[in-house]
């Protein structure tokens, strides 16, 4: 059995993947595209938090909010200027992949290539007998829970949530009933990108920050939503938990071999259930 710290790290990673995966699921179910630039929004979120704390001196929770709002605005801008003007799933996919290069290049020009570290913004540890957990890690987990609850309430009990669910099922019928699909997809893109930035921001104090940190969380949350079922939030939670724990707990026992296990598991899940664990059947 790996020590408790490893399990907690697994949970932390799952939380980051889940928060990103929620955004991807929302964007996919409304816009019908996979946003490959999601990891770069995560990276930008981390940078905004870093500069808000070190350069401007805003407290951590407020800087998270700033990061979420700024990156959400950027995401909306990307959708309005670029994605709306391109037709075809394939071309949109290629465009968002091109944007990966663009944002990474821009970030390394503006912020520099060196790794940056944010000092613990929430110092102190919680002693739990045989092991201890830092408050930062507790903050990450509770923050993700809060996000989950907010999303749940928003999707199930508000008007916009109803609109999102309706549009995800039947865009044409939803627009007949007075949902402005155009405006809704803009808002959802904003929410999705904002969630990625929040994930980056909340994790930022635990890891180093560089222009290239977006790739692996992006890949992992993509795999998470794909094995969970591409339009399902429950699937995103389960997928995120599976991948986060495999990455940490299995890696403790198997080192590099855990990555092979992870990818082979993904392949097997997709071959057995191509629609994902919680996805609706395609046929």
């Amino acid at each position: 059995m790996p020590p408790a710290g490893i399990w907690i790290d697994g949970l932390i990673q799952s939380c980051a993947y889940m928060t990103m995966a929620f955004g991807m699921v929302l964007v996919f179910s409304i816009l019908g595209i996979l946003n490959w630039t999601h990891g770069q929004f995560y990276m930008l979120g981390a940078f905004v938090v870093y500069y808000a704390i070190t350069a401007v001196g805003i407290p951590f929770p407020l800087s998270l909010l700033v990061a979420g709002l700024l990156v959400a605005g950027l995401g909306m801008l990307v959708k309005k200027i670029i994605i709306d003007n391109i037709t075809g799933e394939l071309y949109v996919g290629a465009t968002t992949m091109g944007l990966i290069f663009f944002f990474e290049g821009a970030a390394s020009m503006v912020f520099g290539m060196q790794d940056k570290g944010l000092a613990m913004v929430l110092p102190g540890v919680l002693n739990l007998g045989s092991f201890s957990v830092s408050y930062q890690k507790i903050a990450v987990v509770s923050f993700t829970l809060v996000i989950m609850i907010i999303l749940y309430i928003m999707l199930n009990y508000t008007k916009i949530g109803l609109a999102i669910r309706a549009t995800a099922q039947q865009p044409d019928a939803a627009s007949l009933y007075g949902v402005s699909v155009e405006r809704l997809s803009l808002i959802v893109m904003g929410i999705g990108c904002g969630l990625a930035a929040l994930a980056g921001g909340i994790i930022a104090p635990l890891y180093t920050i560089s222009p290239f940190i977006g790739g692996i969380p992006m890949l992992m949350s993509l795999l998470a939503i794909v094995i969970g079922g591409i339009g399902s939030l429950t699937g995103a939670i389960v997928g995120g938990l599976i991948l986060g724990f495999i990455n940490c707990v299995l890696a403790y026992n198997l080192s590099y071999f855990s990555e092979v296990v992870l990818f082979v598991l993904v392949i097997i899940i997709l071959l057995v259930r191509p629609q994902g664990l919680f996805g609706a059947s395609l046929k």
Binding site: T87, Y91, I100, F102, G105, A106, F263
Partner: protein, 340 residues
Amino acid sequence: MMTYIDYKNVVPKAVIGLVILMVVLVPVITRNESTLSILILSGIWAVAVMGFTLVLRAGQFSLGQAAFMAIGGYTSAILTVQMGWSFWPAFLLAGLVSGIVALLVGMVVLRVGGIYFSIITLALCEVVRIIAQQWESVTRGTRGLITSQPNPINLGFYEINFFASSVPYFYLTIGLVALTGLIFWRIGESRLGRSFAGVALNRVLAEHQGMYLMKYRVIAFTVAGVFTGLAGTLYAHFLTVLTPTMLGLWQSIQIMIMSIVGGIGSLVGGPIIGSVLLYTFGSYLTRLEIYGIQQLLFGAVVVLVLLFLPKGTGLVDLWGRFWTKVVWREKEFEFDEGEE
């Protein structure tokens, strides 16, 4: 009746022929190693991109093409470095191994369609990279295998020396590009190529016409695998070192971008145009000495091309439009879907 020459058809083809002739004659004009190496590498990418486009023609969106380059490259690198084979049999065997892997993997994986297939191939790509990284006794891990260029061939009257300059390697690459292009062009024109397009455009209709979906997908994937493996071999032996990170997910994405920017409507022209232009552009950008500006401009160009090209059909479509709109000044222009 007079013989009628359709000059609107012949002249653009003649211009293409002239361009090809010029490319073949590049070593006569300049022996600048950096120009040659850019052309060689973009030729190698062109072959891989053609493979991607063939798989896409059959309706499958593969994000694992770089894995086949890695399999081909590692096969020949291991055979030449660890077992002391000479280059040529290793080169051919690498294509064969890559093709067999593509066949076996494809038979299992290709029945999944759409985005799920992309994710599976993406995972395969990562698995290949991890194996190459960790199987240290064979692949030397992250230190990489030091390959060498083919040994000189003595023809009696003339010695082809691969060590002295890149010119023989340039012709080797051109040969592979030409062979791949010819085969893929023939596939595209043939019944098989039309079947690929049919399977991709309307799967249900194609199946009701008695076309067995998996057969065409596996054929496309295997043919692409063979040539991508050969391209990977050339890549490994040209750069004289092969490390696991050189052919990973990032390179698969690059192949995909080259294909789509070049234009997926054609199996040969689009990939060659896309890879040559993007690779040349990218390698000239690395000379700018500002960190990050290469990626920034590369990404910007990719996005702009996709934003402003007509219907997003890629650069190759500009060729037809240039002749019809600019040169012949025709009012209307019908898009020919599918065939070249």
